[in-house]
Amino acid sequence: MTRELIKGNVAMAEAAVRAGLEAYFGYPITPQTEILEHLARRLPELGRAFVQAESEVAAINMVYGAACTGVRVMSSSSSPGVSLMMEGISYIAGTEVPVVLINVMRGGPGLGNIAPAQSDYNQAVHGGGHGDFPRIVLAPASVQEAIDLTVASFDLAEKYRCVTMLIADGNIGQMMEPAELPEMRPLLRKDWPWATNGALGRPRRILSSIYIDPPAEEVANLRMLKTWLEIQKNEVRYKEYFIEDADFVVVGFGTAGRIALSAVRTARQQGIKVGLLRPITVSPFPFAVLDELASRAQGFLVTEMNMGQMLQDVQLAVKGRAPVEFYGRTGGMVPFPGEILKEIQRMATTKLSLTADPRQAWLERMLAK
């Protein structure tokens, strides 16, 4: 295959098709609409299912129905639309059927705007519908990675019978980059032993998220915890840059992580021993590697396009052993590498506090600008 210049949203859509996507249900919302538009043409020409639903609420429930038959199915949306899907995501998780969902995040809260943001981290990683359930959340930092993770997300969703969510941001969705799409996989409709596809020659099956007897619901919840522990054990993915001898570690995911890499490279040229840890799975979160880094690093800088959401997971991993600083841009603002470089330089030249609230300190620096 050859590399081609391709837009992130189109790349994710086409990657899903080539990974065996059989059905897509979605609703237009900026900045992800090219996913829907690409599939509106592509799936019908392949004889596969595409429906533009009346709402995100309907879309996720169509996804739920199709997932119960065992086919590869997905939806995509952007922040406000994903909020509308939360009910359905909880039902899907409670029914333990595989579903892939792409959230091309935008500025919020509320209607917010259509610029890139990462402010749905907590919703995806820690929230995302009522009840306890495992979820895999992947954060691509380039169009190529968005392609690769889209393909992987179907395998992960099926392996663990769970919701796998890609959290890209408007940047990844709208950006064009050279990237290589995978080969078209032949459609492989697996005869899952749980799928409700008509009880032909077998006992009938029921798929439901209802366990009316609390003891049965507890059993189901504990089964899901077991699944989650398996996911945690097997699926943590991250990328390290210049980490071996780093005194300072920047932690950022997706676009914020990618911009931080530019800042880290420049800081290295200036002789600052700084590295970057970029979580690719933000759920499961790479706690173990951070735990190891916390025992030797002089300080951490968490950089996000929100007001410090992953920050709290980093603090949980570092456990007060090293100072954790924060630098974010929010509301659809994207940081320049120079802003993050300044933060790295500040960390390298000033005494850092172990006890100060990093968000409060960041707010004070932002307001002083």
């Binding site: 299912a49 169509m62 086919v71 409700t196 008509g198 099956r205 439901s208």
Partner: protein
């Protein structure tokens, strides 16, 4: 009784094969059991048991999946038509039906039912209208009659404040995507027979790919209406049918040609 008489060829009434062998949880006098039975008989007659996937709602019939010996999924409140759409679009050769009450279909699920009909989804909807929320204990539904007392309209539904009952069949019949939309009642044997024929026609519509089909069934809720089962049947005739007239609201030309 002479045991010689008890033979399959002499049976005039038995459990449909499309039913599971369990007792239902429905209240005495509730017509959900009748509605279930009509569906099961039709699935038997059309030999659809092994091809059918049912979609259960939220409400009194939330456990419908326990009673049918077919594959079943359980939808979120009001979302059954969306879930059915997802199933039918990837398995167009299967038979997909939803079973929904008035709160599920006409209140929280209004968008999903209207758009499923508008798209002409080739699914069958069995709509059980008993003018009240049963499962949660008798609150006002979109189909509650003017003046009808419920726990959330304790002085009777005041149309000035709480609006008017919604006539779903009439609304859905306006849609080009709808192939067959009728209202029947379960309050006496003659009407139950007509209802059975309508359920059969609805599934025949789907088998032939003739678009969206819905049978609205006027039903009872003696528990939450606060009257006896027998009084409930009379109440359907005296009070519900004048507001929700029985009839065929949409029978497309192709559906009209179906002979059962």
């Amino acid at each position: 009784m002479n045991p010689e008489i008890i033979k399959p060829e002499n049976a005039v009434y038995c459990r449909p094969a499309s039913f599971t062998e369990v007792s239902t949880h429905y209240c005495p006098g509730c017509t959900h059991g009748t509605a279930h039975r009509l569906i099961a008989e039709v699935l038997d007659e059309m030999m659809l048991k092994e091809k059918t996937i049912g979609v259960a709602p939220v409400g009194c019939s939330v456990f419908a999946y326990n009673y049918f010996d077919t594959d079943f999924v359980e939808a979120a409140h009001g979302r059954a038509p969306a879930m059915a759409t997802g199933i039918k679009r990837v398995l167009p050769d299967r038979i997909v039906f939803t079973y929904q009450g008035d709160g599920d279909l006409a209140s929280i699920g209004m968008a999903e039912i209207m758009h499923a009909a508008g798209r002409g989804e080739n699914i069958t909807v069995i709509f059980v209208n008993n003018a009240i929320y049963g499962m949660t204990g008798g609150q006002m539904a979109p189909t509650t009659l003017p003046g009808q007392k419920t726990t959330s309209s304790p002085l009777g539904r005041d149309v000035e404040l709480q609006g008017y009952p919604l006539r779903m069949s009439e609304m859905i019949a306006k849609m080009d995507g709808a192939g067959y939309v009728v209202r029947r009642s379960l309050h006496d044997p003659a009407n139950i027979r007509k209802a059975k024929k309508a359920v059969r026609t609805a599934f025949e519509t789907q088998v032939r790919g003739l678009g969206f089909s819905m049978v609205e069934l006027l039903s009872t809720c003696p528990t939450n209406w606060g009257i006896t089962p027998v009084e409930s049947l009379q109440w359907v005739e005296d009070h519900m049918i004048p507001v929700f007239p029985l009839g065929d609201f949409k029978v497309s030309a192709a559906v009209g040609d179906i002979r059962i």
